[in-house]
Amino acid sequence: MTLLAGKVDEAQRRSAFRRWRANPSALLGTVIVGVIALTALVSLVWTPYGPLAIDTNHTLSAMSASHWLGTDEYGRDTLSRLMASCKITMYVGGLSVLFATAIGLPLGIWSAWNKGWVSQLILRAADVLYGFPALLAASLFAAAFGASTNTVVLAIGIAYIPVFVRVTRSAALVILNAEYVLAALAYGRRPFAIVRKHVLPGIGSIIVAQMSLLFSIAVLAESGLDYLGLGTAPPNSSWGTMLQSAQNYLSSDALLCLWPSLAIVLCVLGFSLLSEGVSELRDERGGR
């Protein structure tokens, strides 16, 4: 403990930016996520051919100067479809994580603060919800409403609520047990103000790391769901649907599978590295 004090001081003196730059996970994660987010933005206004443009003269063409990554069975440009899929991925990942955070975070803080039966109930409900993994929830949604991008968002979002409740609760408990919270109560701060001034800033980096991690898992889940036809429906492109249609040409045109696979792996890697980077930077700061 005393040993670390020196290290902490040193880490403090460097600016946040420099520490960020010095952390390989955080840096690489930021770059990858940045590239994907940027691609998604660009695809809103421009893709080389448009993701839906069919060209029956050039079906299943190999990589070439005109089609950098080739075309699929309808002659649609793979690069354009990959780019357009970034958009779907960011939409699904971002919205589902926000949804889970928006519900899980307040419930987690509440259950950390309040030890009465209501928070017991919250935790029990989270346990029940925990029995519904994203894929099962999506199946239920698809059975009930028909599959769409939005049912995927909802399914993933609901499935992650329990995770958020637990993570928030344990992080908030650490803060709430600190003596400065007692001191704040002693000078008359009410619970709401304490949450705003101490708890939220205190658990912020944990929550961000968790959100980033769940984003990466959401990308995994989304690709699986789309692949199964439980999510985004053709002709709209997503990495999962691209994989599904490419699977028919595995023996003849394996590259068709490679591109969306790479995109998924890269995206998941980016967000999980970012998550790890954020937690490492937090630990460097002394974990407080």
Binding site: P133, S139, A142, S223, G224, Y227, S272
Partner: protein
């Protein structure tokens, strides 16, 4: 104390039961409070008011909703899963058959995950800061990012299409045990590799924490070498977070199996679920949902109970 532990198990089972009841209500209400009746859905475009009415009575959908729920639950408890709207087959029998595929698949994948994850995680922790540790860390980081869809497809391309080592799809049935096992190997690998990477990461973290612990230092001060001290004093405590992850991973393996079965055309629970969803065979969806939920919650409970066994500090406590 032994009485306390017995009580703990009883209480924990009570919690599971009440969770299951809550989950079943959730599933049931969700699928039954929809606009339009299941009969209409089943008959689709050919429905006439008369045929809908007839089917409604045939399926017992004219009864009050709570009655339908109780009938369904009563059936589940007695092992009677009902009859499929679409195929007219006994769902219980079909699920039983499907579990004979999915169950072994999940177990095999778990095994593969452990075989990969344990040595990798230990190596990562013990060689932290050296090149071997970094390589292992990087490998597991990438392994985590590979979805089972991708792993499955890559394995199919590599080992069955190019090298013809394993069948790329289909399942001969357990009357041909060798063929069945061969059919499961690739899908299990697709699932297990990723789980192995995740396990490796958690094992590495848990073991590293043990290596820093005060009591491991005490053990070394008695004359145990670092690796001996870790083996005798650290591993059991390190197992606690790992068991948690193992529990989470079994749950995600069950889910992953649903995806992988579809890649490899295995007639498991996942395939059955997907077909039911596509056919709007609501009662099958309901039943499978309950099977999955029950499996996940039971595994969760087993994990909780194993803490008691692993860590004496938790015995006789909540």
């Amino acid at each position: 104390m032994s009485k306390g532990r017995g009580w703990f198990v009883v209480r924990r089972l009570g919690v599971v039961l009440s969770s299951l009841v809550a989950a079943s209500m959730l599933v049931f209400v969700f699928l039954n409070v929809l606009p339009g009746s299941p009969a209409e859905v089943i008959l689709g475009t050919q429905s006439t008011p008369a045929s809908v009415a007839a089917l409604t009575i045939q399926l017992g959908l004219n009864k009050p909703i709570w009655r339908q729920y109780l009938d369904w639950m009563g059936g589940l408890v007695n092992g009677n899963f009902g009859v499929s709207y679409i195929s007219g087959q006994s769902i219980g029998h079909e699920i039983h058959q499907a579990l004979l595929v999915t169950g072994p698949l999940v177990l095999l994948a778990m095994l593969i995950g452990l075989v990969i994850g344990v040595p990798l995680g230990l190596t990562g922790a013990l060689y932290k800061g050296r090149w071997l540790g970094s390589v292992v860390g990087g490998l597991s980081q990438i392994g985590i990012a590979i979805p089972s869809v991708v792993a499955g497809i890559l394995l199919t391309v590599g080992l069955s299409i190019k090298l013809h080592l394993f069948p790329s799809s289909g399942f001969p049935g357990w009357q041909d045990p060798w063929g069945s096992l061969r059919a499961l190997v690739l899908p299990a690998f697709a699932l297990g590799v990723v789980e192995g990477a995740i396990l490796a990461r958690y094992i590495r973290a848990a073991v590293m924490e043990q290596l820093r612990s005060d009591y491991l230092r005490t053990a070394r001060s008695k004359g145990l070498r670092r690796s001996q001290a870790l083996r005798r004093h650290g591993l059991r405590v390190a197992a606690i977070p790992v068991v948690t992850v193992l529990g989470l991973e079994i749950a995600s393996l069950i889910v992953g199996a649903i995806v992988v079965e579809n890649i490899f055309a295995l007639p498991g629970v996942g395939m059955m679920l997907l077909n039911a969803v596509n056919n709007r065979d609501l009662i099958v969806v309901q039943d499978i949902a309950m099977v999955v939920v029950t499996a996940v919650l039971l595994i969760n409970t087993l994990v909780d109970l194993s803490y008691q066994w692993l860590d004496p500090r938790l015995r006789g406590r909540r």
